[in-house]
Subunit: 346 residues, 2 copies
DNA sequence: GTGAAAGCGCTAACAT
DNA sequence: ATGTTAGCGCTTTCAC
């Protein structure tokens, strides 16, 4: 089989604005204005330039433009871990919203190399990127310093509220209230021993969700005995381990509110292996409403995060911060309790 | 509550190389070399420059550098749809591999706006980005033209083989063989009426997987009667619809090979609603090995895609294409059949 | 309505 | 071993 190696000769030099200017018989500045659709240009000239650009396959060099404008139309999305299924959905909407606002996104997941995020802080400070979108509650330490030094940087965080970051813009839901709603629902179904499978103690959302659980129990006159709180984590595996802890309990809870959907998946799978039926023997609810949660057997009762709205609003906030030097502010969006079979009394 | 609006005065002018040069008492070129760790610089000077840069919070402006170097160290990852759970996992590894190679990634999901991808083709041609990673088999039409014109562009596709793109580099698995392996496994379990829930007819991988099914049936002397092929799609919902088609069949198959895991999820959920047990009444297998596939009830037999390897290798190929002007070539990686309860004779 | 010219911040060839 | 200089491709005064 003959190896076809395209020759370098094929690669015509990349056309610049000067080339287009020559072809169209105008100056570079006219080309710039014509392409940007800026005022004092005759329609005829604009046409001619557009035509020339198209034929030459011309596109503006983004780096030259960014250098000149000191604006890159680039935002960085910092994501802890794409393996958490909340993020892809969020990211998809962020990408779309950014595109609609005229921005492109760079992404970097910060979970693996903690050193890495510092580089991006530099980029922001050096003006190479216009703004940063923090998803979840992770914020590079270096960035935290700058924020607290009072510098006005275009940063927005979304998905989770983060106490340490209250100086910056954010989009969130009321995590405590949402957790409260789930447990309130379980209590109204008639469950009396409602346990909580808690998330990592380091996560602000886990703390908030636990608090919502406690408040709802109190309001329903149910006790939050020591037995009913099971320390776990956010992963499927954590849910599985939670199930074995529950097995050892003197009195089995009749319902469990999990701190997120993933741990609920693991919990349900392991409980089933123990021969328990959900919800007949034990009701389960989660938090997040991942896309698979209604494919589960049984479909999972959970809280739907308004990820689409969060993504869109956070991008719009960031744009305002960048372009209009807007003030930092925090928006709390409405959540939605999604009741499915896993929590219903049969 | 007093509104604290940081003053613009706080934003000291962003330091440039010239600033660092002044502070360190050297010239800009020395700073450039010192920071880049390039040869003839005394250790003492390097230290002094590094110190000055650090104190001033200096970072190189990526656009100035890219403009000068005509290299951006930026690769674009084109993703059809992040809602397909194959992609987040792939993307995560792409990001990490790119970072390790000194590249940052821009992402753009192309599912919504077909017009959008053209902009990125322009970016590539204009030299604003160094290369493009195509995930799955989607390739912007404009790009296709350029490829076929024989121009040597740094492009790599990964995840799915794509017949129309055989001129460019790629990383893939043998889809036909993988599907064959699944069906071979089912046949060896003793299933006699092995149906196939097919993916979209427009998808090359769906065609390949169907072919593997047919070949395996033939090799085992089983017929691929018309009844046994159920046209569906890749989404959960498609699987659900497949289930109702199966319900109407004169003879129910005893096993079903689904073209991907997601459709298998929907199929299983719907079959259960019909009162069928998996695998006792009907065995199921999928393709992809999504992370939830072993949480499913029953855990799903499937094919594991080497996503991590694919991501890493495709980035390395792209790097070679960019930096070493390497030749285009295609690598086919090994897949793995993952046998779980959903396909086992009890 | 259009052109000439300056300069964004950086790197590398060349000079010392 | 270090400094001087030119120029990457673009936008935007400022002239005409």
């Amino acid at each position: 089989m003959p190896k076809r190696k395209p020759t370098k000769a094929n690669d015509a030099r990349i056309p610049t604005m000067a080339d287009i200017a020559r072809i169209a018989g105008v100056s570079a500045s006219t080309v710039s204005r014509a392409l940007a659709g800026l005022p004092p240009i005759t329609e005829e000239t604009r046409q001619r330039v557009a035509q020339a650009a198209k034929e030459a396959g011309y596109a503006v060099n983004r780096h030259a433009r960014s250098l000149r404008l000191k604006r890159s139309k680039l935002i960085l999305v910092l994501i802890p871990n794409l393996a958490n299924p909340n993020f892809p959905d969020l990211l998809m909407h962020i990408d779309q919203a950014a595109y609609d606002c005229g921005y492109d996104i760079m992404i970097a997941h910060t979970a693996v190399d903690p050193h890495r995020s510092d580089r991006y802080v530099d980029e922001l400070l050096a003006g190479s990127i216009d703004g940063v979108l923090l998803t979840a509650n992770y914020c590079p330490p270096r960035l935290l310093e700058y924020i607290h030094s009072g510098r006005h940087l275009p940063i927005v965080r979304t998905l989770s509220p983060t106490p340490s970051l209250d100086g910056i813009s954010g989009v969130q839901i009321d995590e405590v209230k949402a957790a409260y709603d789930v447990v309130d629902h379980l209590a109204k179904q008639g469950y009396k021993h409602i346990a909580h499978l808690g998330g990592p103690t380091t996560e602000a959302v886990a703390i908030a969700r636990k608090k919502g659980w406690e408040m709802a129990l109190a309001d329903h006159g149910l006790s939050a005995s020591r037995d009913l709180f099971i320390q776990a984590g956010f992963r499927v595996e954590d849910g599985r381990q939670g199930a074995s802890k529950i097995k050892g309990l003197a009195r089995r809870p009749d319902a469990i509110f999990c701190s997120n959907d993933e741990s609920a998946y693991g919990l349900i799978a392991a409980l089933k292996e123990q021969g328990l039926r959900v919800p007949q023997d034990i009701a389960i609810a989660g938090f997040d409403d991942l896309s698979f949660s209604n494919v589960l057997d049984p479909p999972l009762t959970t809280v739907r995060l308004p990820r689409h709205e969060m993504a869109e609003l956070s991008v719009r906030k960031l744009k305002a911060l960048i372009e209009d030097d807007a003030d930092n502010d925090i928006t709390t969006l409405a959540h939605e309790l999604v009741v499915r079979a896993s929590s219903l009394k049969s």
